[in-house]
Symmetry: C2
C-alpha cells in the first residue's frame, strides 16, 4: 500500500488527507471526463511517481548541484545521469500525466497531476524544471495553436521527445515586459524570422531532448509599443520537416550560461535569435495577442513555482524531523542532571516549535497549491457559466498568493530545517543547505515577490473591484460558520480570529481601492507587499481551520495511528493560530495607516 | 578626509554618526587611559582599516569562497592570498588594536576597536575570523592566565604570529557543554595531557601562522559531571621552548575539514587531541573553573558574531543601493507609457521599501553592536562599583540580543539585497548570494538562536529577577521623555509606541517569571524564541528613536549633504515605527497567551 512506503519526499498520509478529505478530489470521478478513474488509479499514479522520484531523481540531487552545466564548444555539458533520469520519467509517461488518450496520457485531473509533479519537485527541483516547462509549453500550444501546430509539436512534447521553454525576459526587460524588443518579420511562406536576445531562459539549451521548442515573445514591425504590441512565436531549435523528422538547425544560439546560487541542474541561458538570417518562427494565435497567450503558461508556471517551493519545504521538514528524533543533545530545562543521558532534540520545546512551523508552512503550502489546482478542475468541470466565472475569479485572485506564499515561507521552513540540524545543517554533508539555496530562486522567477504583490492588490483587488475577494470571503464565511456550529471552544475561537483578520483585510483593501480610484495610484499601491504577506497568512490560516474541522469530525472514530496523525494536524492548526495569524496585524499596520514612508523616501537620502 | 572615501563596506558618515553623535565616544578621551587619543586618532585608525580592508580583504572575498580549504597530506591547503592578506593585517598592527603599549597596541577603546574590526568583517568575513578568534583567545589569557602564560603567549598572539582558537564542541556535545568528555591528566611537571576529539573548530588548523594556540575545555579525573567539571587548557599546535622558539609538534591532529555552505575561507575542523601520548596542555585558572573563563571569550565572540552579521547586512545594503540607483526597469504605476524611457528601480516604492528595510536592519544592527561595545568601555571606566554593576547587567542582558538580532535580520537584509538585484542577485556574478550564504552561519555558531533565547529569558530575565531589564527600561524611559518633551508630533507618537511595546515586554516577562518561580520552568521557557524576537525589535526601535531625536536636534542647522543624511535617518526611523515595531505584538501573542502548543506537541504526532 502506498501509505506504507516511507518517504522523505512527502507524507503520503498527509497527501491523501489533502486530496481526499480536504479537497474531496474523489468527487471528480463522478464527472464524465474522469469516469474511468478512481481513488485507486489516482493512488497508483502517485505510487509510480514516488517510486521513480525516489529511485532516479532524489539520488542525483546533490550531483546536479556539484556539477552544474558547462558551456563547452558551443554546447551544454551536463552529467549523463540527467538524461537517464529524464528518460525514465518520459518512459513512464509523466509528460502526459494530465492529458487524455490523444497524447497517450494518463488523463488525470489537474489536482492529481500536480500531486504527481510534487513528488518530483521534492526529489529534485532543478531536474523537474525540464518537464515542468515542457508541459506548460505544450499546454499553451494545445490552447492557442492551430491544428497544424498541435499536430507538429504536441505529440513530441507530451511524449517527452522535445522539451519546451518560455522566452520572455531580455537583458533590458526582466520584470518589464513592455520593453521587450526582440523583433519578428513575416515571410512570404507564412513563417516569421525572429531577431533578438533572450535572458534567464530556463532549459534554454541542452542536449537532453531531440529538440527544444521555444515560445518567444517578439514584436512585429509597426506593432504598438508596450505589452500590447507583443506577439508569440514557436521557435524550435531544429526545424521539423513535413514527415516529422528533424531538419536544419534553426538560427538560435546559446550565448551564455548563468551561474546560480542553486537550482543548478536547470540550465539558465542567454539565447541569441537571428544572429545570421533570422530564426524561423511560427505565429501563435494572432499578431499582438502574444502576452494574453503567454499568461496561460505564466499562470500555470506561477502555481508550479509555488508547488516547487512547497515541496522543497516539505522534504526539508521531513529530513529535519528524522534528525530531531534521532539526535541526542541536552536535557530538559527542569532537570539538568548531567548523569542522565542526553535526550533526542525533538524533546526540546523550541525544536518542536521549529518543526511545527515547518509543518505549518510545508503542509499549508501544499494544501494551498493543490487547492489552486482543484480550482482549475472545478472551473473546467463547472456546470454553469456563473460557477465557471466564480472559480476563475477565485483562481485569479489566489494565483499571486500561490506563487509567493510558498516561496517566502518555504524558504523560512528550509532555514528552520538547517537550524534544527545545527552546525551539520550548514555543511554540504546534509541536503538542507541545498534545499535552501534552491528555494531562494522561487521569490524571483516567474514574477518577483513585489510583482505578485502589485498583481494581488492592483489588478486582482482594486481593478476587479474586490469581486474575487468577496467570492473568497464567502468561502471563508462558510468555514467560520461551520467552526462556530460544532461546539468546540477552540474551533470557535480560531473562527473568530480568522473572521477578524479577514475583516481587517477587507477594511484595508477598501481603503486602498478608494485611494486608487481617487487617482492616487502610486500611493495606494506603495504598501502592496505587506498586504500580500498579510493576505497569504489569512488564506493559509483558513486552510488550516478547515483541516482542524476535519480532525474534529474524525478524531473520535480513528485508530491509534490515525489519532496520532489527526492530533498532529490539530496541533499544527493551533500553532498557526497562536504563532502565525497574529503576525497579520503587524503587516497590515503600515497599510492601514496608509504610511507614505517608502513613497516619501528619496534616492539621495540613502 | 575619511568621509570622502567612497566605500561599499560601510557609510563612514553613518559610522561617525553612531560613534560620535549617538554613542558620544569622543568623551572617552577624557578618561586617563585614552588621554592620548582624540577623534582624529580614532578616525586615522578607521581610515587605515578601511584602506587595508578594501585593498587586501574585499578583493579576495570571492576567491576564498571558490577555493575552500583542502585537506592534503594531513595539512590544510588554502590560496596563498589568504596568508598575504593576513600578513598585511598583522603588519599594520591590528591584532593589538585594542591593546596598550605593552603589546605594541594602538590603545583604542573597545568601541573604536570594534568599529575597526567592522571594516574587515564587511570586506571578508571568513578571513576576519582568524584575527577575531586570535584576539578573543589572547584577551582570555590576558584576563585569566598566569604571568608566565601571558609572557609566553600574548606577544605572539597580539603580534599576529600565533593564531588562536576556542575548542568547546565535540561530536556528541554541540550545544550541550555539560557533555564535553575530552579529558586531561596532570603530569609531574605541572603540565597536563589532553585526550579527546573537538568538532566545529574554526581556524582549528592551517598554515597561516607560526603556531596555533587552542583553548580547550576538558575534564580532569574525578571532576564533577556537567559544566561544573570543566577545566580550561592552553594547548598549542607546536610546543614553545623556554627561549621562545618553536619546539616539537604537539599531539594535536587535524582529523577532517567540514565543507560548509558559506564562510568558506575559515577552516572548520575536527581535531584529535592525544592520539599518541597526549597533547601537552597548560591549565588556565583553577581546575573546574574552565567554563567561567571560557564565557569571557564566548561573550566577546557573541558580540563579534553580531557585528559580523551586521556588516554582511551593511555591505549587501550598499551594493543593492548602488544597483537600485543604476538599473533601469519599468515605469511608475501611474504613468505606464511605454514610449517613455524606463526609470531606475530605486524610483519604485517597493524597491525603496527593500532598501529602507536593509538600512534599518544594517545601521540598526551596527548601532546595537557598537552600543554593546561602548557598554564594555563604560563598565571599564566606571567611577563607582554601582555604575560598573549596572553597565555589566545591561551588557549581560543585551549580549544574547546582540548575538541574535543582527544574525536574524542581517540575513533578511541580505535576502532583500538579492531581491533588489532580481535574477542577477541569484547569480554568482554578484557578491550578494555569498553574503547571504556567509551570514546564514551566524544564527548557529557561538550558541544557536534558541540558546540565546533561553539565555535572555531564563538566565538574564527570570533568574536575574528583571534587574537588567529594569536598568534597560530606565534608559528607554529617558529617551521616551526626551521625545515627548521636544514638541514634534511624530517623535511623540513613536515614543508612545515604544513605551507601549516595552510595557508589553515587561508584562510578559513578569508572567513568565511568575510561572518559572512557581516551578513550571519548561512551560515558562517554551516560548523563549518569540520573546527574544520581540525583545530585539524593541531594543533596536529604541536605538532608532534615539537617532531620530538627534536628527531633530541637528536638521535645521545642517548643510545640504548633511540634511540628506539626516533625512535618510529620519525616514529609516519612520520605517521602523511603521513596518517593524508593529510586528512585536504578533510575536508576543503566544507568549502572552502562555501558549502550550509547542510544549504539548508529541514526537509521534508529527
Amino acid at each position: 500500500m502506498s501509505a506504507a512506503i516511507p518517504s522523505k519526499l512527502v507524507n503520503r498520509r498527509d497527501l491523501a488527507f489533502i486530496l481526499y478529505e480536504l479537497l474531496e478530489s474523489e468527487q471528480l470521478t463522478a464527472v464524465r471526463k474522469y469516469a474511468d478513474h478512481s481513488r485507486d488509479t489516482f493512488e497508483a499514479a502517485l505510487d509510480a511517481a514516488q517510486r521513480l522520484a525516489e529511485a532516479e531523481f532524489a539520488p542525483i540531487n546533490r550531483l546536479l548541484d556539484q556539477h552544474e552545466p558547462e558551456f563547452v564548444d558551443g554546447k551544454v555539458r551536463q552529467p549523463e545521469a540527467v538524461r537517464r533520469a529524464l528518460a525514465a520519467y518520459r518512459d513512464a509517461g509523466f509528460f502526459a500525466a494530465g492529458q487524455d488518450d490523444v497524447y497517450g496520457g494518463m488523463g488525470l485531473p489537474h489536482v492529481i497531476a500536480q500531486a504527481v509533479q510534487a513528488m518530483f519537485n521534492a526529489a529534485n527541483i532543478s531536474l523537474t524544471a525540464y518537464p515542468f516547462l515542457t508541459i506548460g509549453n505544450a499546454n499553451l500550444i494545445r490552447t492557442f495553436g492551430t491544428d497544424e501546430q498541435r499536430r507538429t509539436w504536441l505529440p513530441a512534447l507530451y511524449g517527452g521527445r522535445y522539451f519546451g521553454t518560455m522566452c520572455l525576459s531580455e537583458p533590458q526587460a526582466g520584470s518589464s515586459l513592455a520593453d521587450v524588443n526582440t523583433t519578428a518579420r513575416p515571410c512570404e511562406d507564412g513563417t516569421y524570422r525572429v531577431f533578438g536576445q533572450k535572458m534567464w531562459i530556463s532549459g534554454g539549451d541542452h542536449e537532453l531532448a531531440e529538440n527544444i521548442v521555444h515560445l518567444v515573445l517578439a514584436r512585429l514591425a509597426g506593432a504598438p509599443a508596450g505589452t500590447k504590441g507583443l506577439s508569440l512565436f514557436i521557435v524550435p531549435k531544429f526545424l521539423v520537416k513535413a514527415d516529422g523528422t528533424l531538419g536544419a538547425r534553426n538560427d538560435v544560439a546559446l550565448a551564455g550560461l548563468n551561474h546560480k546560487m542553486g537550482y543548478r541542474g536547470t540550465t539558465n541561458c542567454v539565447l541569441s535569435f537571428g544572429e545570421s538570417d533570422g530564426a524561423v518562427g511560427y505565429l501563435v494565435s494572432e499578431p499582438h495577442k502574444g502576452l494574453a497567450c503567454m499568461f496561460q503558461m505564466m499562470n500555470e508556471a506561477r502555481i508550479g513555482v509555488g508547488l516547487g517551493a512547497a515541496m522543497l519545504a516539505y522534504t526539508g521538514y521531513l529530513h529535519s524531523l528524522e534528525y530531531a528524533r534521532s539526535r541526542p543533545q541536552g536535557r530538559p530545562p527542569a532537570s539538568k542532571d548531567p548523569s542522565c543521558p542526553q535526550i533526542p532534540i525533538i524533546l526540546h520545546a523550541d525544536v518542536r516549535r521549529m518543526l511545527l512551523a515547518q509543518k505549518a508552512y510545508a503542509e499549508g503550502a501544499l494544501a494551498l497549491c493543490l487547492y489552486a489546482a482543484s480550482l482549475i478542475d472545478q472551473r473546467e468541470t463547472a456546470s454553469t457559466r456563473d460557477e465557471q466565472r466564480k472559480y476563475g475569479a477565485l483562481l485569479e485572485l489566489l494565483t499571486p498568493v500561490v506563487k509567493s506564499w510558498p516561496a517566502q515561507w518555504g524558504l523560512v521552513a528550509n532555514d528552520l530545517a538547517i537550524q534544527v540540524h545545527g552546525g551539520y545543517g550548514y555543511t554540504r554533508d546534509y541536503p538542507l543547505e541545498q534545499f535552501y539555496r534552491d528555494n531562494r530562486l522561487n521569490a524571483i522567477h516567474e514574477g518577483t515577490h513585489g510583482i505578485q504583490a502589485l498583481d494581488l492588490l492592483g489588478r486582482k483587488t482594486v481593478h476587479d473591484r474586490l469581486e474575487g475577494f468577496e467570492e473568497l470571503a464567502a468561502h471563508l464565511a462558510r468555514t467560520v460558520r461551520a467552526a462556530h456550529h460544532n461546539g468546540d471552544a477552540r474551533l470557535a475561537r480560531w473562527a473568530r480570529e480568522l473572521q477578524s483578520a479577514l475583516d481587517r483585510l477587507r477594511h484595508v483593501a477598501t481603503l486602498v481601492s478608494r485611494k486608487a480610484i481617487g487617482g492616487a495610484v502610486e500611493e495606494a499601491l506603495s504598501n502592496a507587499t505587506p498586504y500580500l504577506e498579510a493576505f497569504g497568512h489569512v488564506i493559509v490560516a483558513w486552510l488550516w481551520l478547515r483541516q482542524a474541522l476535519l480532525v474534529h469530525a474524525h478524531l473520535d472514530h480513528a485508530n491509534a495511528d490515525e489519532r496520532a496523525f489527526y492530533l498532529g494536524k490539530w496541533q499544527a492548526a493551533a500553532y498557526v493560530f497562536d504563532f502565525e495569524l497574529p503576525k497579520v496585524e503587524g503587516w497590515l499596520f503600515p497599510v492601514a495607516r496608509q504610511s507614505t514612508t517608502t513613497l516619501d523616501m528619496r534616492s539621495e537620502w540613502f
